[in-house]
Amino acid sequence: MQIILNGEPRDLKGALSVEGLLSQLGLEGRKVAVERNLEIVPHSAYQDVMLEEGDRIEIVHFVGGG
């Protein structure tokens, strides 16, 4: 299965949830949001939302400066 991650194609082996993707990427859920097909995935749904072929995923890093 192939997804587009941050604009680059990426091959995934087998089924993977958003939470699984974050853990593969070594990213902490407290520091990023996940955008899937132009929509932020609710944090509470990370385990349930399974990635699908062709999904466009962007990692949105939180910023808090002003």
Binding site: E28, G29, R30, K31, A33, E35, L38, E39, I40, P42, H43, S44, A45, V60, H61, F62, V63, G64, G65, G66
Partner: protein
């Protein structure tokens, strides 16, 4: 209240816009806007809101102007080094537009004063520099039922969203809160601040101007609100994108089992 001749001339380029016009300009002149932080974002936001004739601008900041602020905080200047940012901003606004009344809050927003201060305004623009205050502002705006236009920057990236979590979308689902984007404050130090990581000055100009623009849209009703959306600007790639942000039903502010009813958890 009718516009005076000088107001008709000062705001002529707004009045000619059918989306704003005389009625929109009158709404701006009657509006009370609270700007949290007179820093990188607050500087352009305050200047554009003042120029637009937003009638009363509340400014909350407890900091003083330092030399390293002036690379981006364009409401302040070299003559105001060491002055309170509230006073420095008020002086710039007075030079720009005498129609605008300023209310200065030279203090930090706290769990004790947040609701009382925010309730005195129609709309809030948050451009503060830390996550703890962002959560406080967001929760207080929900409890006080005030729209919040929230902007934030990293070194080369800006994010902007409008929150009205006390309202519902067309399908009857409550609109999202800041907590639907950032579920909990990142551990202190885990995300670099402008002080530690730097920030491109003009980026804060872009984001603070967009923030002022969204405030003006909320006040006048022009165009489409940014509620339920998140705008992201990547300055290095010169890329803007607007993505959907829905309510997370698990969020504790307006979720299905909401537990936050006051600001005591911020104390």
């Amino acid at each position: 209240m009718a516009l005076s001749d000088t107001q008709l001339e000062r705001y002529a380029r707004h009045i000619v816009l059918k989306e704003i016009g005389g009625p929109g300009q009158q709404k701006l002149l009657g509006a009370r806007v609270l700007v949290i932080g007179a820093g990188g974002l607050g500087s352009p936001a305050l200047l554009y809101l003042a120029a637009a004739g937003a009638g009363t601008l509340g400014i909350i900041d407890d900091d003083k102007v330092s030399l390293s602020n002036l690379q981006r905080q364009i409401i302040h200047d070299t003559d105001h080094l060491d002055a309170a940012k509230t006073q420095s901003a008020a002086a710039a606004i007075a030079r720009l537009n005498p129609d605008v009344k300023v209310e200065l809050h030279e203090e930090r927003l706290t769990a004790q004063n947040a609701l009382e201060i925010i309730s005195r305004y129609d709309i809030v623009a948050d451009g503060c520099d830390n996550f703890a205050t962002r959560f406080l502002v967001s929760d207080a705006c929900f409890l006080a039922r005030r729209p919040l236009v929230s902007a934030a920057v990293g070194p080369f990236e800006g994010q902007l969203a409008t929150f009205k979590p006390y309202e519902k979308d067309e399908e009857g689902t409550p609109l999202p809160t800041y907590r639907c984007l950032v579920p909990e404050a990142p551990a202190p130090g885990s995300i670099p601040t402008c002080e530690s990581a730097g920030v491109l000055g003009a980026l804060t100009g872009v984001m603070g101007s967009l923030q002022a623009l969204e405030v003006i849209k909320e006040i006048t009703g022009a165009g489409e609100s940014l509620t339920g959306k998140l705008l992201i600007y990547d300055a290095l790639d010169t890329r803007f994108r607007t993505i959907k942000l829905k309510r997370d039903p698990a969020n504790p502010l307006n979720g299905e089992n909401a537990s936050i009813t006051d600001l005591s958890h911020h104390a």
